[in-house]
């Protein structure tokens, strides 16, 4: 036990500063849940009541897995809402007619492997919902690439196969502006929650208004995609930002406190990199959609980005060589004490350039 408390002390210093207070975490998580309700309602409207079942199964599995994992680790289970958020987000990035057993496997993977095996909330390296989605995509490639056209009836269980706007073989009959409007409202094939850009935008604005997220990551991320699509000949920038899961990823996934960099500059690099990757994957890669993979890849780079924009970036030759990797507790405390100073000084230096 003594060792574990030491670990927790370290944690407060090392990971993002947003989550040291339990009450705060809870509040934040429930605001996110609230913001996610709108895309879920949209999903149910466009793809039928079955999608609500998918969301429920996903959330219940996530909570159960979290409970079991805590039991295995002999830790107290706290209902902080993070499992609900993960469950909801995971459901939102699934195809509308995914079998429920696949939802269970995926949601359990999100919590057990991607979150709890890394230490639980605040310690995970990758965004659980996206990692779970990627895992299910690789496992059951067939299931994850069968899309249906919107049925626009809550009770319907119909499924007319259709391609997604970004997928190969998608052809749109109407004019470009009609396409934009359909994309905006979500009247196209795609994942449960990622088709309607407008609903996600409203949810995202709620998060911004309540201060749960900052504008930087979504704006830079979407902006980069828009700009690059505009620069590459033959690509439609408006289409690229409205289609697929860019809005959902930008507002709800990339902004995850735990898996994105801590500093403003780091977040800028993170969002820019993710934007570049989205375009690379969509235009040159073999997958139609790249939002999930772009965020996962940038999650992997987050520790390196954090190092680079932190007071003692890699590559600088620090005067006191031994504390270059301050892993010991004592070294840590001094590190924190002089952090703000150095941070601003490096920022200024970069700004002058």
């Amino acid at each position: 036990m003594a060792e574990e408390t030491v670990d927790q002390k370290r944690l407060v210093v090392s990971t993002s500063p947003h989550i040291h207070d339990k009450k705060n975490t809870k509040k934040v998580m429930y605001v996110v849940c609230l913001a996610l309700l709108l895309p879920i309602i949209g999903g149910v409207y466009f793809f039928g009541i079955y999608t609500l079942l998918v969301v429920l199964v996903s959330v219940i599995t996530a909570i159960t897995t979290e409970f079991l994992a805590k039991r295995l680790r002999k830790r107290e289970f706290i209902m902080d809402g993070s499992a609900i958020v993960t469950g909801m987000l995971f459901a939102l990035v699934l195809p509308p007619r995914i079998p429920l057993w696949a939802v269970i496997i995926g949601a359990a993977f999100c919590i057990a492997i991607v979150k709890e095996a890394f230490g639980g909330l605040g310690h995970n390296i990758f965004n659980p919902a996206l990692a779970g989605r990627a895992f299910i995509t690789v496992s059951f490639a067939g299931l994850m690439t069968s899309w249906i056209a919107p049925v626009k009836s809550v009770i319907s269980l119909d499924s007319i196969t259709s391609a997604t706007p970004l997928g190969e073989g998608f052809s749109y009959a109407g004019s470009t502006s009609d396409l934009y409007i359909d994309l905006l409202f979500g009247n196209v094939g795609g994942c449960i929650g990622e088709t309607s850009a407008l609903f996600i935008l409203i949810g995202g604005l709620l998060l911004l208004a309540t201060g749960v997220i900052k504008w930087r990551i979504p704006v830079v991320y979407i902006g980069t995609v828009f700009l690059l699509a505009w620069l590459i000949p033959g690509q439609d920038p408006v289409f690229h930002i409205l289609a697929g899961g860019l809005f959902l990823g930008a507002f709800f996934m990339a902004t995850d406190y735990v898996t994105c960099p801590m500093t403003a500059k780091g977040q800028f690099i993170f969002a820019f990199g993710a934007g570049v990757l989205v375009i690379l994957i969509r235009v040159y890669g073999s997958m139609p959609e790249g939002v999930a993979f772009s965020i996962l890849l940038m999650n992997a780079f987050t520790p390196l980005i954090d190092r680079h924009v932190k007071p003692k970036p890699y590559g600088y030759i620090p005067p006191e060589k031994k504390s270059r990797f301050p892993l010991k507790k004592k070294a840590k405390t001094t590190d924190v004490a002089d952090k703000p100073d150095q941070d601003s000084s490096t920022d200024k230096k970069e700004g002058k350039k």
């Binding site: 690789v138 059951f140 490639a141 067939g142 069968s146 073989g169 073999s286």
Partner: protein, 194 residues
Amino acid sequence: MSKTNFRADIVPILFLTVVVCISVIALAYVDSITYEKIETAKLEAFKEKLSVHFSDMTDFTSNDANDCYVVFTDNNTIGYAVKTIGSGYGGTIEMLVALEPTNLSSTDDLILRGLSVISHSETPGLGDKITQSFFLDQFQEVSFSGIELSKTGGDIDAISGATISSKAVINGIVSSIEDRFDSLVELVSSVEVS
């Protein structure tokens, strides 16, 4: 002094040399036993691949680069085959295209007899469907100009969810055959002369 030098410097080198010599002799011996076997195993494996398309074949001949083949039944030419390479999702896709024995004035005359995949590294469960018969059978009795996705006016339906792999197969066939057409013609004419 010189004696210790001999012990310290020369003996180890001599020892290493002896070990290397024994190793070379042993390997040369093993190679002499297995060489024939490995070559026949390769040949048999390849013959089997060809006989999928030419069930009555008795023999075949190939060019120097070993990518174009003429298939015989008792000295009668019954068809041609070309090794083709496509660049797929996870690496190169190596294929064998069997061709009907048409006259070879241009690539437009070619008619495919069938297609088989020799090696690939596509994603299991998705891209690796290119090895399944529902996809491969589409390449039977198709003219060379029809080797295109049905979406763009050809005769081949892509595998749903694995368009990249399907495209890789088609692009590989088209570009490899265009590249190797001249050497196929050369091979065929040399066979006819002899």
